[in-house]
Symmetry: C2
DNA sequence: TCTCGTGATGTTTACGCCAACATCGTAGCC
DNA sequence: GGCTACGATGTTGGCGTAAACATCACGAGA
């Protein structure tokens, strides 16, 4: 009963339609120079047989796979999976499929491995989400595959799409300063994250510009747990009246620690997050945060990549898109206690 | 300066190593019957030229793509992206890559389209995450590609991997009953979700078995916002002392609504969630919930699929794996107010 | 010594498709 | 009427690989 199903080929369709396989190919690829009547005949023959072009054969001869590779470190990071989803949708709309790989670690070696895994599988282009290559290997392997980086290294050699961290972090910091806080503490993301670094940099310069004292940066790992741990330490310092946290998850943990220490948000301490995850409006208190448009980032990545594919990718790739985030004021921020 | 980079082929390697291309093929595929000395010579020739087998050519001749297709509705659902991540890792370990598609909608038509998109691209097997086909089309298209369903329809014709919703929902309900609540309300997920249905069914039968009255089921859409909306209505009913919510996000919204109505959790109302997202321990109050092992689900999906690939997939696919969830008691549940 | 088996290697072929070129017929033009 | 031009279609070839089959050398056993 193990009937070996043999999918129909162009030749089968051609035979049924009474044309040459080349004509079938032309119909399949929507060439113009096919008589309408013939076209219909071929089309219906395709339908009858359930013909689907063999992508491997097509890729072999054209060298195009109609497939985009995506390298994403962790999908548990909210932004990454949102971006991925948007990439997948945009790619599909453009007739491309998405090949997803996650490197085992974030070392240059693992990166390169993931990279070569993709080029080996055969992709037309690669998008790296939240790249954080520590040892700057030249990733432009001999494959000659164009690359776009989302939220990655600004020094990178590839075109990139970024959330404008500077704008977001500045808005957050300025908001707190504007509320009357003497200064603003910062709970940053991990040091090897470029997004985290850029947020910290903008926080720093905003403080400087305002002439506010600059407290030492604290580092978390994006998790609520790390926010909680840092929050416990921070709660002991009565000078702390405002904290800009680099993402909503950590802010959640921070707020819990603060509350446990008897410091209410926003009465005693104002807290502001980053990302605007769908849940943050339902936190207690509802979290003031910076909204990021991950969908837009994903879409831009794809269109940038398709551009390169269409026009041949220029080695110097300086193209850089920025997506502007938006401060969302809710109830976790208030003027400092008197 | 547009130097067309032509990747080296087996023939190039063969020429450099002074062997036939077939020998190169044997080395590339790790066949046993190649002399060690020859093997080394070929290997180093490969290295020199930077040879990578052309996956399209290989797929063309073998009919295997070493690629798994994944259909996932929404990656914003926490469980889905966790499962996807695990699938991606497991697939990679087994030497497969992952082709991700998201159907535009959850109708049978969109599903079939996503399905045929994958088979058209060329995948060896397909995993559907949280399938909820409404009109039960027979998805076993002529492609003859094996399918595994994660958290899908129990009546489905395909092998599946499920979180054991019955166990989890029963544990949650029984926990509340055991605390002394007269009965337990249920805020379910959308009606077209099989996971949601199964949780509701287990909640229902647990109540029945305990002889407790069965309140009408309430339906949300998994979002915190929907939990909040339902919570506002629920807060008006003073009889409500315990609510089993079908996921953590909705529980968050529900708790907020309850609090706003002056009903404290767990003092006045006990709330229990589902999923155990990493943040739920940092909610206010820390959420009692049911932990799901999405990683295990992902791994099992891949191994089930690879099994089918290896042994030829039997049409009747009754294979069904269950992953057992675990009740995590935190601070959102307590005995009812006296 | 001859045969036979076995392991290492080479040769041929086919996978399904599309590019390039070839062919054919017809319409338009002088 | 014969020529060109062009649109519709067919023919040939080759992409890079692995399966199937062929070859060859060499050692074991009769």
């Amino acid at each position: 009963m193990t009937e070996t199903f043999k999918p129909p080929s162009q030749a089968d369709v051609a035979a049924l339609a009474g044309v040459s396989s080349q004509t079938v190919s032309r119909v399949a690829n929507e060439r113009s120079n096919v008589d309408e009547e013939t076209r219909q005949r071929v089309l219906s023959a395709m339908q009858v047989l359930g013909y689907r072009p063999n992508s491997a054969a097509r890729a072999l001869v054209t060298g195009r796979f109609r497939m985009l590779g995506v390298i994403s470190f962790s999908l548990s990071a909210h932004g990454n999976s949102r971006t991925l989803q948007a990439i997948s949708e945009a790619a599909q709309t453009a007739g491309y499929s998405v090949n997803l790989v996650g490197p085992e670690s974030q070392t240059g070696g693992a990166m390169r491995k993931a990279f070569s895994k993709l080029t080996g599988q055969g992709v037309d282009g690669i998008i790296m989400i939240e790249a954080q290559i520590l040892d700057h290997p030249d990733l432009r392997l001999p494959s000659g595959v164009p690359v776009v980086v989302a939220d990655g290294d600004p020094d990178q050699l590839h075109p990139s799409v970024d959330n404008n961290q500077a704008v977001g972090a500045e808005a957050a910091t300025a908001h707190l300063l504007g509320l009357g806080h003497r200064t603003v503490w910062h709970l940053a993301g991990p040091q090897d994250s470029y997004s985290a670094r850029r947020r910290a940099a903008a926080w720093f310069s905003t403080l400087k510009r305002a002439g506010a004292p600059v407290p030492a940066v604290l580092y978390g790992d994006w998790s609520a747990g790390s926010g909680y741990a840092i929050g416990r330490r921070l709660a002991e310092d009565k000078d702390v009246t405002a904290v800009f946290v680099a993402n909503d998850h950590m802010a959640l943990g921070l707020i819990k620690a603060l509350r446990e220490a008897g410091r209410e948000v926003p009465r005693d301490v104002s807290v502001i997050g980053y990302d605007d995850i769908p849940e943050s409006g339902f936190f207690h208190p509802p979290l003031t945060t910076v909204h990021q448009d991950f969908e837009e980032v994903g879409r831009l990545c794809v269109s940038l990549l398709l551009d390169q594919l269409a026009h041949g990718h220029r080695p110097g790739g300086e193209e850089r898109s920025m997506v502007t985030p938006q401060l969302v004021v809710r109830e976790s921020t208030a003027p400092p206690p008197r």
